[in-house]
């Protein structure tokens, strides 16, 4: 029910405004802190009047953390994850919804269960696989005794090894295969009328044609929504990149913040740290600003 009374309007406006202040206040403090010099930022309480050193702090942060390289890494990483996710979820959901093969519900549930296994839970095995992609196969060979057999017969020790540490593939691939996107697409595909498929079939379109001509254009907003969510999520991912990359030139920007955050015994340059966070949080903001309209439509309404 939609209530429309002046009093209620005022109450909701006030609540909204309080919410806005609450969520913007920390951000404002970050911005102000980034403008102070070393002395002002460490005064308690910190002055809320902006200082003069904003650009100096930005430059300091930029050079100290080598953000040029790291932002590029972040961009490749986040775009890779977002694109990979969009592609793989769209294809998986298409297969689950539109094809009647044996065991597709099983596959759907297997995919769905991964929702309950976020990266943090499976991080050790995932790391093991990233360190050597072939280790599961090696395990199978070992357990079934094939390794032993081959060694007895030919004297060759089978040892499969293919590592992805310190590479973009290692950063991106393990984050692509999760269920959120598949589920989002499945729900969307289920809202499309069956007659659409049938009309396309009568018009002579095969499965790939239908996917390309109907499904993709119709799920444009969903693609934008998923892309945005995944981009921001991947950009902010900290634990996984920290684990897989050791080479400073392969590190992403969020991990790079470590270089500007003052350690226990170093100079407390929080002004530089805050400037660094500003640099790092800028790209996702730009993406959200651009895709915002599509994004909201894709999550809320189904275009008919």
């Amino acid at each position: 029910m939609i209530e429309r009374t002046p009093v209620f309007n005022i109450v909701s406006q006030v609540l909204l405004f309080l919410g806005l202040v609450l969520s913007l206040l920390p951000f404002v403090i970050v911005v102000i802190a980034a403008t102070h010099n070393l002395r002002d930022v460490n005064t308690v309480p910190m002055s809320l009047i902006p200082g003069q050193d904003f650009f100096k702090n930005l430059t300091d942060a930029w050079t100290r953390a080598n953000f040029g390289v790291k932002l590029m890494n972040s961009l490749i990483f986040a775009v890779g994850v977002a694109v990979g996710k969009v592609v793989i979820s769209a294809i998986t959901a298409y297969s689950i919804v539109y094809f009647g093969y044996r065991g597709r519900m099983l596959i759907f549930w297997l995919v769905f269960i991964t929702l309950m296994l976020p990266l943090e839970v499976r991080i050790v095995p995932t790391y093991a696989v990233a360190a050597n992609v072939l280790s599961p196969f090696q395990g199978i060979l070992d357990i079934t005794g094939i390794t032993w057999l081959v060694q007895q017969v030919s004297g060759v020790q089978i040892s499969l090894n293919f590592g992805l540490l310190d590479s973009y593939a290692g950063l991106i691939l393990p984050l692509i295969a999760t269920a959120t996107g598949t589920f989002l697409y499945r729900q969307f595909f289920l809202t499309l009328p069956d007659e659409l498929v049938e009309a396309a079939k009568m018009d002579g379109a095969g499965p790939l044609r239908f996917f390309w001509d109907m499904i993709l254009p119709l799920s444009r907003t969903n693609i934008a929504a998923l892309f945005t969510i995944m981009f921001v999520w991947a950009w902010n991912e900290y634990l996984w990149p920290l684990l897989v990359t050791t080479d400073p030139l392969k590190r992403v920007a969020v991990v790079g913040l470590l270089d500007v955050v003052p350690g226990q015994d170093s100079v407390p340059q929080w002004n530089v740290a805050m400037a660094g966070t500003l640099i790092v949080m800028l790209p996702p903001l730009i993406i959200v600003a651009f895709t915002q309209r599509l994004f909201v439509r894709g999550l809320v309404a189904t275009e008919k």
């Binding site: 009328p193 007659e195 659409l196 049938e198 009309a199 396309a200 079939k201 009568m202 018009d203 002579g204 379109a205 044609r209 001509d213 109907m214 254009p217 119709l218 275009e303 008919k304």
Partner: protein, 375 residues
């Protein structure tokens, strides 16, 4: 132009059979309407012809080719859907031309054909619009144009008019009829609306619970319903159907009452039957005359005609006539039952009991004899 042959077609979902051996021949250039209540399998039958639904047993042949294992696109059918099923993200022109695009027809040629078809269904002015910006009738026409552009061997219509309002429905009905006359494409049209079926069909197929009850021209279906079910399904108001038996004198006796209608069928003595009489074939005569003496219950005034509800032997009886009446509720009236108004069905099987062989002159004489009178 193509004929369609459906041979012993069966369909089951898992272990549940929904189609029980359908046999149907549709001639080239024929307009066949499949009529039945919802859930009778009429849409399933149409979708099996289209290839959107597999068949469990039997075979379907279009133009002499068995199409059981052919993909929908290889069967040469075009289909108009109930909800139009237009592609929402494409313009009208792209909707109509999509089949050609898939077939790889060059752009200029495609454009030419789309315009030509659009002209024939009055859509020229709307080619750049999206389906969302069209009215129901226009969407319907886009759906038809999309079917027409492929120059199919067979048109399949799946209740295409049920989403339109009453006026538009009558209009589109006429347009479909004209279209068929112009193109002469074999057409199969599914509907639950008997008015649509009667007006459009060369032949009507009445279906019920996965079986064909009767196939015939609209006149045959109306005039000689093959089963009790068809008799009750066709006609508005529905045919009067009274359960009872035939007595030794060859009269129909409803239940245990001592009322009786002379139907002159002594050879049926003792059989349990259902007597069917169309409301519009019954005539009023003086209260002492006629085969039936009944009490007036109430009168529904429809302007052009009136529906008189009578009470006879504790059964409801409905009579329709065009002439004005001045009946009071409770009044006793006589109803004349012309011999050719009588339809008899076996009470157990529901099948029509053959009409008494009777010279046609006699029938006509009988009708004119009973023409006496309206109070």
């Amino acid at each position: 132009m193509a004929e369609i042959a459906i041979r012993r077609v069966e369909k089951s979902y898992g272990k549940v059979p929904v189609m029980h051996g359908i046999d149907l021949d549709i001639a080239s250039r024929e307009f066949v309407v499949i009529l039945g209540p919802s859930g009778c399998g009429k849409s399933t039958l149409l979708r099996m012809i289209a290839g959107l639904e597999g068949i469990t047993a039997g075979e379907i042949a279009i133009d002499g080719t068995v199409v059981n294992d052919l993909e929908p696109r290889q069967r040469g059918c075009a289909m108009v859907f109930q909800n139009y099923a237009l592609y929402p993200h494409m313009s009208v022109a792209d909707n109509i031309g999509y089949a050609l695009k898939v077939a790889g027809v060059p752009k200029a040629e495609r454009r030419r054909q789309v315009e030509e078809i659009a002209r024939s269904v009055d859509l020229e002015a709307y080619l750049d619009r999206r389906p969302a910006n069209l009215s129901g009738g226009q969407r319907q026409r886009v759906a038809m144009a999309r079917a027409m552009i492929r120059k199919p061997k067979v048109f399949l219509f799946d209740e295409p008019l049920s989403n339109l309002d009453a006026i538009l429905r009558v209009q589109m009905r006429a347009e479909i009829r004209k279209l068929h006359r112009r193109l002469g494409t074999t057409s199969v049209f599914v509907t639950h609306d008997q008015a649509e079926a009667m007006t459009l069909a060369d032949r009507i197929v009445v279906m019920r619970a996965g079986k064909i009850e009767q196939v015939g021209t609209p006149a045959e279906i109306y005039g000689r319903p093959a089963t009790r079910y068809v008799a009750g399904f066709i006609g508005s108001p529905p045919m009067n159907l009274l359960d009872g038996a035939v007595d030794a004198a060859g009269a129909f006796v409803p239940g245990k009452q001592d009322a009786a209608v002379r139907i002159g069928r002594p050879e049926l003595a003792g059989r349990k039957v259902t007597l069917g009489m169309r409301a519009e074939t019954l005539r009023f005569v003086g209260s002492a005359d006629g085969e039936i003496q009944a009490t007036v219950d109430f009168v529904e005034e429809l302007g052009a005609s009136r529906i008189i509800h009578l009470d006879w032997a504790d059964r409801g009886l409905v009579v329709v006539q065009n002439e004005a009446v001045a009946f009071e509720p409770g009044e006793v009236v006589g109803v004349r039952v012309p011999p050719d108004a009588i339809h008899l069905f076996d009470a157990d099987t529901g099948l029509r009991i053959g009409d008494q062989p009777m010279p046609s002159e006699m029938r006509r004489a009988d009708v004119s004899a009973g023409e006496a009178v309206v109070p």
